[in-house]
C-alpha cells in the first residue's frame, strides 16, 4: 500500500507545555483514517503539527515519502496537505465563490474545480454570491471542506468536522465523506463521535493525553466495548 502520510515519533509543545508524546501512525492512499480521542487529548495539536502550524520539536512528518519538517504551512499545503480546521475559519467578508476560489492557492491541479464542487455541493452554488459569514454553521462546514478540496490535496485532514453540527447535518456530512471515499480521497479524520467514526473510517488510532494508546481496524474496534469505555466514554 502507498503511504500518503506517515507521522513518526511526534513530540510537540505549546510554549513549555509538552502536548504530544511520540505520536505515530500512517495513512494509506485511499483510506479514511480516524484519530479518536476526548477533548484535550491532542487531536488538534496533532493536526497542527502535521501541517507545520505547530512544528514538532522531535519526530518526522512524511508526505508521499518526503520529509516536510521545517516547511512553512503554505509549502505543506502546496505539497498536498489539505487541512479543514475544526473552527472552520471561512472568510466571512468574502462571497462563497471567492472563498472557494482562494482554495486554489496551492496551485494544484486535479479532479476538483468550481464546476465539480457545485455538483457535489449544490447548496454552495445556490449561495455562491452570498457572504460566507451569512451561512449557517452546517453550510459553513460544507464550504470549508469544499474550499480545501479546491486545492486538490493528496490527503484531506478533517479536524472534528461534526462538532457543533445538528444530527441532520452530521448525516449530510457522513454521506459526503462516504462519497469522497468512493472517489478515492485519502482522509485523515479526527473525531470524538464514535458512531460517525465507525460509519466512515477504515482504520483508527486513539490518542489520550498526547499518547497513541490504541490502533486497530474499524471492525476490531467496533467489537471492543472495553476500549470505548476506557478512552472515549464521556
Amino acid at each position: 500500500m502507498d503511504e500518503i502520510l506517515k507521522v513518526q515519533n511526534l513530540h510537540s509543545y505549546y510554549g513549555k507545555s509538552h502536548i504530544l508524546f511520540g505520536v505515530e501512525f500512517s495513512v494509506n492512499k485511499g483510506e479514511t483514517f480516524c484519530l479518536m480521542g476526548r477533548n484535550g487529548a491532542g487531536k488538534t495539536t496533532t493536526f497542527k503539527s502535521i501541517v507545520m502550524l505547530v512544528p514538532p520539536k522531535v519526530g518526522k512528518v512524511l508526505l508521499n515519502g518526503r520529509e516536510i519538517n521545517g516547511l512553512k504551512p503554505y509549502q505543506a499545503a502546496r505539497l498536498g496537505l489539505g487541512l479543514v480546521p475544526e473552527d472552520r475559519r471561512i472568510f466571512g467578508d468574502l462571497s462563497v465563490k471567492d472563498n472557494l476560489l482562494l482554495g486554489t492557492s496551492s496551485e494544484r491541479k486535479g479532479y476538483w474545480d468550481l464546476a465539480k464542487i457545485y455538483t457535489y455541493f449544490p447548496i454552495l452554488l445556490e449561495y455562491q454570491d452570498q457572504l460566507g459569514g451569512n451561512l449557517s454553521g452546517g453550510e459553513q462546514q460544507m464550504l470549508t471542506i469544499a474550499r480545501t478540496l479546491m486545492g486538490n490535496p493528496d490527503i484531506l485532514l478533517l479536524d472534528e468536522p461534526t462538532e457543533g453540527l445538528s444530527p441532520v447535518m452530521v448525516k449530510v456530512l457522513k454521506d459526503l465523506v462516504l462519497k469522497l471515499k468512493e472517489l478515492g480521497t485519502t482522509i485523515l479524520l479526527s473525531e470524538q463521535n464514535i458512531k460517525f467514526c465507525m460509519a466512515v473510517a477504515d482504520r483508527l488510532v486513539i490518542i489520550d493525553k498526547g499518547h497513541i494508546v490504541y490502533e486497530a481496524d474499524v471492525e476490531t474496534f467496533r467489537a471492543d466495548e472495553d476500549i470505548k469505555k476506557k478512552y472515549l466514554a464521556v
Binding site: 504551512p73 503554505y74 499545503a77 468574502l94 482562494l102 496551492s106 486545492g151
Partner: protein
C-alpha cells in the same frame, strides 16, 4: 461669503485630503491586514520628498522625482518589513514591540535624512506644465492642486479595483480576517505582507513627493503628517480603507473651512472632530460591530 471662495476653498481642502489619504490609507491597510501599527509611516512620506528632491537635482525632471519618491520609499519599506518587522510578528508583546521598533525607525530615518541632506529646508518647484492656474468663471484654482485631486481619484479607483476585483485583493481581504488560514490554503502570506508593506509605503512616498512643491522638505515632517494621518485613521476606523478616504476628505475640508471661519481655532479643529467621533462611535465611523473589518 461668495460662492467662488467656497468652491476654491473646497477644492483646496480636497487636494490636502488626497495627500492625507495617500498616507493614511497605507497606514490603515498595514494595520488592517498585517496587524502592524506602523508609527513610522509618516517617515516614508518624508523620505519620498527627499528622494524626489534628489532625483530632480540629478535628472531635472519632476516626474522622475515623483517616481523616485514612491519607489524609493516603497523599497525601504519592504526592506524594513523583511529585516525587522516580520521578526517580531506573533510575539506575545508584539504591540509594544511594534511601537518601540517603528518609533526607532522614525528617529533613525530623521537622523539619516539630516546626515545625508543636512538639517536645512529644501524646496522643489512644481512642474512647469502644472505651474499655472485654471480659471472657470469666477473660480481660479492652481492647476497643480487639481492634478493632485485627479491623481488621488485615480489611486482611489485603482485601489478599489485591486481590492475588490482581483485575486490579490481577495487574498488581502481574507488575510485581514485570518492570515493563518490563508497560509494553510497555500498562499505565501509573508510575501503578500512584504508587497503590501511596499505598496503602502510607496503610496506614502508618493504623497511626500507630491506635497513637496506645496510644503517644505525638512526633517521632522514625517512626524507632523503621522499625527494628521492617525486622526484620519481613528475617525475612519482602524484598518478601514474606505473609512480613511471619508475621514481624509472630512479632515481636509474641516481644515480648509476652519481657516476661513475660525482662523484662531483652525489647528484644533481636526482634534475636535476626532473627539466628537470617538464619543459617539468609539471604534471610528466605519468599523462594524464585533470588530470585523471590511476593507
Amino acid at each position: 461669503m461668495s460662492f467662488d471662495v467656497l468652491i476654491s476653498q473646497f477644492l483646496g481642502g480636497l487636494s490636502v485630503a488626497m495627500l492625507l489619504f495617500l498616507v493614511a490609507s497605507g497606514l490603515t491597510l498595514i494595520f488592517g491586514v498585517a496587524k502592524v501599527f506602523n508609527f513610522a509611516h509618516g517617515s516614508f512620506y518624508m523620505l519620498g520628498a527627499y528622494f524626489s528632491f534628489q532625483a530632480i537635482n540629478l535628472f531635472n525632471n519632476f516626474w522622475i522625482g515623483a517616481l523616485a519618491g514612491a519607489i524609493g520609499a516603497g523599497l525601504i519599506g519592504m526592506v524594513l518589513e523583511i529585516c525587522f518587522i516580520r521578526r517580531i510578528s506573533g510575539r506575545e508583546e508584539e504591540g509594544a514591540f511594534q511601537i518601540l521598533l517603528t518609533y526607532a525607525f522614525i528617529l533613525i530615518i530623521d537622523d539619516g535624512v539630516k546626515f545625508i541632506w543636512g538639517p536645512a529646508y529644501k524646496t522643489i518647484s512644481k512642474p512647469e506644465s502644472l505651474a499655472g492656474a485654471l480659471t472657470v468663471g469666477p473660480v481660479t484654482i492652481p492647476t497643480y492642486n487639481l492634478f493632485i485631486i485627479l491623481l488621488g481619484l485615480v489611486i482611489v479607483v485603482t485601489a478599489w479595483y485591486v481590492l475588490s476585483r482581483t485575486r490579490m485583493g481577495k487574498i488581502i481581504q481574507a488575510a485581514s480576517t485570518d492570515t493563518q488560514m490563508v497560509g494553510m490554503l497555500g498562499v505565501n502570506v509573508s510575501l503578500v505582507m512584504s508587497l503590501l508593506f511596499g505598496v503602502a509605503t510607496a503610496m506614502g512616498g508618493l504623497a511626500g513627493a507630491m506635497a513637496a512643491p506645496l510644503r517644505t522638505i525638512a526633517p521632522g515632517t514625517g512626524v507632523e503628517i503621522i499625527i494628521d494621518s492617525l486622526i484620519v485613521v481613528v475617525i475612519g476606523g482602524l484598518g478601514n480603507f474606505w473609512g480613511a478616504l471619508f475621514a481624509a476628505i472630512l479632515i481636509g475640508e474641516v481644515n480648509a473651512f476652519g481657516i476661513l471661519w475660525l482662523p484662531q481655532w483652525a489647528s484644533l479643529l481636526s482634534f475636535a472632530v476626532m473627539i466628537v467621533v470617538l464619543i459617539f462611535k468609539s471604534k471610528g465611523l466605519f468599523t462594524r460591530e464585533q470588530g470585523r473589518k471590511k476593507i
